[in-house]
């Protein structure tokens, strides 16, 4: 009984530790989710579709692409292929989380299913505070982020048109979040080179391939540089 109580206490401690870390994601997801919900409504898909899509897909930018796929000719194979291409970066997140997600037991599938850009940026940068199990901490971050997205999409689809407060620019929270977490990452000296390589490779690819097709070449370039520079970066 006593042991059970400690576990319960630690679980709520994990939630209390995780929640503040997710506040920037909450702001960003409510905004972007609402934008998605509104867009899907203007494409002729109501609340049921919005809930179904955000619950099943849960893939930010690809859901926006999905709206245009839903208004085009029916081609599920193209949808599948596009989804793999747009989300290919997620495979790099998985690679980075292999060790951290080891031994997380029953919550592991949940952690893997919900590994978005923003969740990855939090779980890869943050460590649980003392006395909080890594598994519970990452679980709450992942679950809270998922819930924010659902609420954002649903509200946007249901009442998005009624909003009178000008939210233009509020989605900058996610840019700011990535900048801050990049700073946290490169606080460690051994991470500095990799952080710069990530920025330079992506910027070079963006300059060459333009904003619609640069992500895959950027990832290939990044991988090549990281593997080629392994000896130097390992020092």
């Amino acid at each position: 009984m006593e042991e059970h109580e400690t576990i319960v206490k630690n679980r709520s401690a994990a939630l209390r530790a995780a929640f503040p870390a997710t506040i920037p994601v909450m702001t960003g997801y409510l905004c972007l989710g609402a934008a998605f919900g509104i867009l899907l409504r203007t494409a002729g898909y109501g609340i049921g579709w919005s809930i179904a899509m955000s619950m099943i897909c849960y893939c930010g930018s690809m859901q926006f692409v999905g709206v245009s796929l839903l208004t085009a000719a029916f081609d599920p194979f193209q949808a599948l292929l596009m989804s793999v291409m747009v989300n290919a970066r997620h495979a790099f997140y998985g690679l980075s989380m292999l060790e951290k997600y080891r031994g997380t037991g029953p919550v592991r599938p949940v952690l893997i299913c919900t590994l978005t850009d923003e969740t990855f940026s939090l779980v890869s940068t943050l460590e649980p505070p003392e006395g909080v199990a890594r598994r519970d901490f990452y679980f709450w971050i992942s679950l809270l982020d998922y819930l924010y997205w659902q609420v954002g999409c649903t509200l946007g689809n249901a009442v998005g048109g009624l909003l009178t407060f000008d939210t233009t620019g509020l989605d900058f929270t996610l840019t700011a979040l990535f900048i801050v977490l990049l700073l946290e990452q490169v606080k460690k000296k051994e991470n500095r080179a990799a952080g710069i390589i990530g920025m330079v490779c992506t910027a070079a690819s963006l300059a060459v391939f333009g904003p619609d097709n640069f992500l895959i070449p950027a990832m290939i370039l990044l991988l090549a540089v990281l593997l080629g520079g392994r000896k130097k970066l390992c020092k």
Partner: protein, 111 residues
């Protein structure tokens, strides 16, 4: 809606399958019980900072540097985020400050 409900549902499922494939792939390739090869462990170490660099640049992909505001609101707000963060090291404070500045810039100053 231009598709039938069944077609729309299949499209949504295809998107979901594609997404989940990319999220599960590394965990299938390198199962929990076996130690991954050294090169994979190395990538697991360098990819987080590298991907954070990628995501940061990704956020600027639609900024038009040569026309309009020349990316001034984005650069000023980003500089504010960096400045605030190096000063206080408080994640929420840096993000809130930078976002507030950005909103003022795009809604009032560069509107």
């Amino acid at each position: 809606m231009q598709m039938t409900s069944v077609q729309a549902l299949i499209t949504i499922l295809a998107i979901a399958v594609g997404t989940q494939f990319t999220r599960w792939l590394p965990f299938w390739l390198f199962p929990e019980k076996k130690d991954p090869p050294a090169v994979v462990l190395y990538l697991g170490k360098v990819l987080p900072p590298a991907m954070m660099g990628l995501l940061t640049v990704y956020c600027f992909k639609n900024v038009s540097w040569l026309s309009g505001t020349h990316g001034a609101p984005e650069l000023l707000a980003s500089a504010a985020v960096v400045g605030l963060h190096l000063w206080k090291r408080n994640v929420l404070f840096s993000i809130a400050g930078g976002t507030a500045l950005y909103m003022v810039l795009v809604q009032a100053v560069f509107a």
